[in-house]
């Protein structure tokens, strides 16, 4: 395998030692393969979190609705998606439910399963955020003459937003890691690529180690962005 050495960076002897290790060569010659896998994972996560946020907000408002039918549907939805494993949900949707309606490839199935799952968690985050806003805020808004949705829009949601940001970042990180489960339906994301490379090279420590490093870089980046957003919100 042809590898460009970086003697300035590592020093000639270290580089010679490393390239003598087969696992290192496997990882080093496949770095683009891992990065691409990471990008697929990131796409999967961003799409699922975005769809999950929209759907989650709707489900949260449904759950808090006075209309019993709406709140019951929301409760059942949340219970189902939080009470069963995502791995099983992925298989259920890809092999069982989605083929009835659409001819979806593994990536789309993965996005749908992850979105639906994430929405359940987001719904609880949003509901907790809204309910964490002091009761007096709603009373003050209503006593001025605002109706329920005006009070929600101008007084409650802007305050809930700040409360919801940290757990939402956490959900983003959790989902990024959980997308590894869609490897079971052969989506070419990071974990699946790790499986494939491992099965042809048997370099478990190097391959899975490299997979960990790519995941870690992504989760750390999201966490740092989250900290930045939180700091900015705090100073507002």
């Amino acid at each position: 395998m042809a590898i460009t050495p970086y003697p300035m960076l590592f020093g000639a002897t270290l580089w010679e030692k490393l390239t003598a290790i087969n696992g290192f060569n496997v990882v080093a010659s496949n770095w683009a393969y891992f990065i691409e896998g990471g990008l697929v994972t990131l796409q999967l996560t961003v799409l699922s979190v975005s769809a999950g946020m929209v759907l989650g907000l709707i489900i949260a408002l449904m759950k808090m609705s006075r209309w019993r039918l709406l709140s019951s549907v929301a409760v059942i939805y949340i219970d189902f998606f939080r009470g069963t494993p995502l791995l099983v949900q992925v298989m259920l949707f890809h092999f069982g439910i989605l083929p009835i309606f659409i001819d979806s490839g593994p990536f789309l199935s993965g996005v749908i399963a992850c979105s639906l799952n994430s929405a359940a968690y987001v719904a609880e985050i949003v509901r907790a955020g809204i309910q964490a806003v002091d009761r007096g805020q709603m009373e003050a808004a209503r006593s001025l003459g605002m109706n329920g949705s005006q009070a929600m829009r101008y007084v409650i949601l802007p305050q809930a937003y700040k409360i919801v940001v940290p757990p939402m970042i956490n959900e983003f990180v959790m989902l990024l890691k959980d997308t590894s489960l869609v490897s079971v339906i052969a989506v070419m994301e990071l974990t699946h690529r790790g499986k494939l490379l491992y099965s042809t090279t048997y370099e478990a420590a190097w391959v899975w180690g490299a997979v960990c490093v790519v995941y870690y870089i992504m989760t750390k980046t999201i966490a740092m962005m989250g900290d930045w957003i939180e700091r900015r919100l705090a100073t507002e």
Binding site: D134, G136, Q137, E139, A140, A141, R142, S143, L144, G145, M146, N147, Q150, Y154, V155, P158, Q159, K162
Partner: protein, 240 residues
């Protein structure tokens, strides 16, 4: 202006109001006193329907508040409320706190609402605090902004729910003096309070409540200097 007829209110099995009748005339200042848990705050909250009653009727300016067909949001615009814990909107500046309701509910242009708000801030003695967030204000300042916020809707009636109970003692005076000015301008006010000095000096009428009923009612002089009911006597002997 306010007419309360035979209202009953219970939270679950606990009956908090056991048949309350009273009225407030236009430009009258009525102070409601009594021990904690006597139902005086609940009574106030029933008037603008933050609490619903199980029985009885409440009228404000001839409109029945307790009628489910009444547009309660329109009615609340005419009834200002000041809370014990201020309940200012922490994500808005004091100016935005005051202008929010007129802009959203009356469709008032921003400039006009701000002009009114600045006038109100001057009136409550905080002319230089317009671009400050509530967290940067003292308790007394917060409560004065809360009064300005309620006044921005030009209410016919102002309800005060223990407006000085969560203030440090040295800040009570500044809030009471704003309320006193308001009373002198002829605002119709119902004040639930533990400030007996204010009730005596500013109140036109004092209502003593205990255990969900009005025990005694009369002019401040009668209530404070010559209470007839034994409960009133024992309550006043403890607080005065």
């Amino acid at each position: 202006m306010i007419e309360v007829k035979g209202i009953h209110k219970n939270f679950g099995r606990l009956e908090v109001l056991k048949g309350i009748d009273f009225h407030v005339a236009e430009r009258e200042v009525v102070c409601v006193i009594g021990p904690s848990g006597s139902g005086k705050s609940t009574l106030l909250r029933c008037i603008n329907q933050l609490e619903t009653v199980q029985q009885g009727h409440i009228f404000i300016d001839g409109v029945e508040v307790t009628n489910p067909k009444t547009d309660i949001n329109a009615l609340r615009q005419q009834v200002g409320m000041v809370f014990q814990l201020f309940n200012l909107f922490p994500h808005k500046t004091t100016l935005e706190n005051i202008t929010m309701a007129p802009i959203i509910l009356k469709g008032m242009p921003k400039e006009q609402a701000e002009e009114i708000a600045i006038g109100l801030l001057r009136k409550v003695g905080l002319p230089d605090k317009d671009h400050v967030y509530p967290a940067q204000l003292s308790g007394g300042q917060k409560q004065r902004v809360a009064i300005a916020r309620a006044l921005a809707m030009h209410p016919k009636v102002m309800l005060f729910d223990e407006p000085t109970s969560s203030l440090d003692p040295e800040m009570v005076g500044e809030v009471l003096s704003v309320m006193k000015d308001l009373a002198h301008e002829g605002m119709t006010m119902v004040v639930v309070t533990h400030e007996m000095g204010f009730a005596r000096e500013v109140g036109h009428r004092v209502i003593f409540m205990d255990e969900g009923i009005i025990m005694e009612e009369g002019s401040p002089v009668n209530i404070f200097d010559n209470p007839q009911n034994s409960r009133t006597q024992s309550f006043l002997s403890k607080v005065l």
